[in-house]
Amino acid sequence: MRRAIPRITRPLATRPCCRTCCHPTTVATAPRHFATAIPKKADLPLQEVLRRKIWGTDEAPGAPGTPPPAPQIPVVEEPTKDEEGYIEESDGRALPIVGLMPGLTEWDVPTFANILEPPSTEAIHAAVHRAVVEVYTHVLNGKPVDAPATEGSVAEEGFTPRVRIEVRRNGEAIFHYGDTSIEEEILRMSTGVEGQVVEEGVVGGWLQEGLDGKGWVELGFRGDDIKFAVYKRVYRLTGIRVADPDITRTKTVADLLTHLVAKPPPTKLFDILTTKTELPTLPNVK
């Protein structure tokens, strides 16, 4: 790299002399050495020299061998506990607890469907049947579809399984209650139950029809309000959520069941060939 100012290579004269006129000069006016390099001490590296120059002090931080500075934690003043109505929080996440019922722990948040275990296929079918019967009973009696829930145990709920739903080819559905008291009981007790789907032994033949995909599962929803009321009831009984687009596309009870019941895992073709075809009986097939 060429320097802008040539370096002085020839030795200086014994007597200081001005370069322009070469006249001898006094010591007071002796020319100073001129160089473009930064004057540095021999014992300090260039990095340290630059660090001191940047910080503007000889005790610049970040020098090798110096310990790092201690982190400064801001001190936050805690609110006083003498305020009226103040409740000290007990949440392990240091979050204020809002809206919890007294007696509940931080994890017991009541939900709309408090179902802990996933129900079986038969239980899902029974829940859907119950929801359909309840909703359509309200519709047939001119009551609002989504009737407000009333508190109360319905441990002896065995009325909806006795109702038989007949779906005709023209789409018409007929609900066979068998007895007017059943219909009245359903209207009276069809609310406020979570998790209690069906009692064993009270299920009618409609369960097998539903598992086969025939009969009452071919019932079509007459309107969106009925459909969403049925799903709401099913969700409360089973705890299984269905996506909104899937609910929108649902037309019949069978469509709803496809989203509730998990499909069986696909079987291997080899198993199908050995069990459901006559290939194993042929002598030339291995």
Binding site: P266, K268, L269, F270, L273, L282, P283, N284, V285
Partner: protein, 137 residues
Amino acid sequence: MPISALQAVSKAQNGVGAFILQCKRMEFNFCDWAGSSKGMRSFLKHSLSQFAKENPQIEIIVAPRPNQTPIIRGTYINGREKVIPVDGLEIQQILQKAQLLRNSSGAKLKRITRPVISLNESVRGIFSPFHGKKHVI
């Protein structure tokens, strides 16, 4: 001096006296997961039984071959094998390929340049310039 007759041995031709199918074994490989084996799986479920009944002299082997192209492998009496990939084919197309393998021998495919292939000698004899009508210049 006794004259002994030439001993003529008849040439064995497959199909003249007896017919032996050249294809002795057919192996069907498929994949349970891949979409290219869809037609093959349908063929195995619906059409293979009938094909096996029609060809009792062929040993049929069905074996899954995961993550591989579905193939039909034919083994012949001369020891050679012929493999046909059937990925993406439908049931009828796979059946045609199976019949193709069944009907073929293990010989290599040759390009036939002559219109007639025969074992019999020429009836009129092979041309010779020294016999027949002389050419006059």
